[in-house]
Point group: C2
Chain length 347, copies 2
């Protein structure tokens, strides 16, 4: 944690001077004040949050609950890594640390324990599923007034704090783009249904088809699990469908990249024989061959926003604290067009 | 944390039965025992580590110190994300959590504080630099006998516990591969010199050139900072050097990808006009155009090994504990040849 001492050293002033600047105790030369503020900014020094933590006996930690999946290199997936980078930035700005806890979403876990044992002041949940164990865990946290935020997952009928992206709109635009390119038989490779964003995406897909006067065909809706392997496996099914499919929209880039590999091995050229659109706008989308049209999701900003909102709530002093209300942020996505979805010749 | 209750539920037995299995208290039907052990394995239940933590008043947390670099999405870099995934796996296997702390390597930080306040039982350091603030911090931890491990960084003259990869050999093999392909004027785009692995790499480069009877040319040694931008910037210098360079070896894939982009913009075709070899064997190496020859480094295993070794040391009971000795593991790398370094025509 950055201390008053570090700021004093960098600004070339005494520690007492740093205190005077932050407590607004004059008189003070303006140039000195500016030097201290510049040093504090450079070092990300936040005296108030830190001081308040100590005074209130808080842990100074945010808990970060990640799904434990054996063998998956979780931090290496674009989705988790970007959100984590955003949370890390937010946590650091508030002078906090983060306690990373791997929990299986199917375990019955007492989420209140780390709060009660003063290990964390609040928690952020990533990759939560709509399954009984998690629903019950969140209900208990909510009942006890323990602050937490869900990222990219909402629960029908609950009013928990959530930072989400507008996946329905994101998918709608992706499918509309394919329709405008002259494609009509658009398969949809979705993720697991226990994620609320899978349902959001399906709604966007239906909306775009309906607007174009097309009826969704159940056989064109495939389910993967967001892994590259599941995209690769889907290539077999797409190849079987043959001429009944002229484009595939995939719920993430990872599956799209696996799909393209599987198609190539079957002699089907992505971007020529079949249009492909991915989702997330990861590095892989820019580097793949052909470059992959995708939907940008502001994952970093979602993580930053979640950490910032949670820490503001935790650090609010009782006087200024409104009765805690949950917040629901939904950030916009953006279609990024590349060569994998060039319009149909003659379209 | 997985509890005895979870194991009992999954195995369909009582909690007392689970205890009896783990405390080896008979009599017990073999089939029941196997059911319990299978459930424990499936859930990653480790009764001894957990019980011992409670008994010894430990935190059950491993600290993970990451360099704070404003604006860099640290978790999104292949290097950090893979090591972190490995650490996460190791920590989870021991039933622990990890406290992630972002610290600037140039800050004067008291690394002993999280140990003294029982926030962590040991620390793993990633991205450490050979700068005075960090040297002093490690010396103090060592003096106080507080367990810690450095990943991918060693300090001349110190005997700290380190998990490293054999970067000298990795670079030697990469440059030798280029020499065998008929290349003679091999530029080296290295990372920052404060990382010990930059010096290791340089030694490997020199060794390969010396063996081939070539004298290293100082103007062919460039310095980047492992970012894609710094690789992109190096393209200008490489273009200036013109015919004096026929191949470039880059210290990581990220710089190599930036370099290839910069070269293409100047009409220089990577893999045809100029051979390129990267390092790390990241996803980007497989996806880039042309696919990038690279050096595989077992980052995930390095993280797993560091966490496992650290936690074994922490959890060793006094009876079985040898006087703590530091360990120095150096894992092997492996050259992966792809189209970016096809042999010189006629070589």
């Amino acid at each position: 944690m950055v201390t008053r001492k570090d700021v004093a050293k960098m600004a070339g002033v005494s520690e007492a001077t740093v205190s005077r600047v932050f407590n607004n105790v004059g008189p003070m030369k303006e140039s000195t004040k500016q030097k201290v503020l510049a040093a504090a900014k450079e070092l990300n020094y936040h005296p108030n949050a830190v001081a308040r933590s100590f005074a209130l006996g808080k842990s100074g930690h945010i808990g970060l609950i990640l799904p434990y999946v054996p063998k998956v290199h979780l931090f290496s997936t674009y989705y988790f890594s970007e959100i984590l980078s955003g949370i890390g930035e937010g946590v650091r700005r508030h002078g906090c640390d983060m306690l990373v806890m791997f929990r299986s979403p199917h375990e019955s876990v007492d989420y209140t324990e780390p709060y009660r044992s003063r290990k964390v002041d609040g928690c952020i949940f990533l990759g939560a599923l709509d399954v009984p164990a998690q629903r019950e865990g969140f209900r208990e946290l909510d009942r006890q007034g323990m602050p937490f935020v869900l990222i990219n997952q909402h629960y029908e009928g609950e009013t928990y704090s959530v930072v989400d992206a507008d996946h329905e709109q994101g998918c709608y635009e992706a499918v509309k783009h394919l329709l405008e390119g002259g494609y009509r038989r658009i398969a949809f490779l979705n993720g697991s249904p226990q994620y609320s964003n899978s349902a959001d995406r399906l709604r966007g897909y239906y909306r775009a088809l309906n607007e174009a006067g097309l009826a969704p065909e159940p056989e064109l809706i495939l389910e993967g699990n967001y892994s590259r392997t599941s995209g690769y496996a889907a290539a077999a099914r797409i190849a079987e469908l043959g001429g009944r499919v002229d484009a595939v929209f995939s719920s993430n880039d990872r599956m799209a990249v696996g799909l393209m590999q599987g198609l190539k091995e079957r002699g089907i050229v992505p971007g020529e024989d079949l249009a492909i659109v991915g989702y997330d706008d990861s590095e892989a989308a820019k580097l793949s061959d052909p470059p992959l049209t995708s939907v940008y999701v502001p994952f970093f900003e979602m993580g930053l926003l979640a950490a910032d909102a949670l820490l503001k709530r935790i650090n609010a002093s009782p006087e200024e604290d409104e009765p805690p209300v949950s917040f629901h942020e939904r950030l916009s996505t953006k279609l990024v067009v590349r060569a994998s979805s060039n319009p149909r010749p003659g379209a």
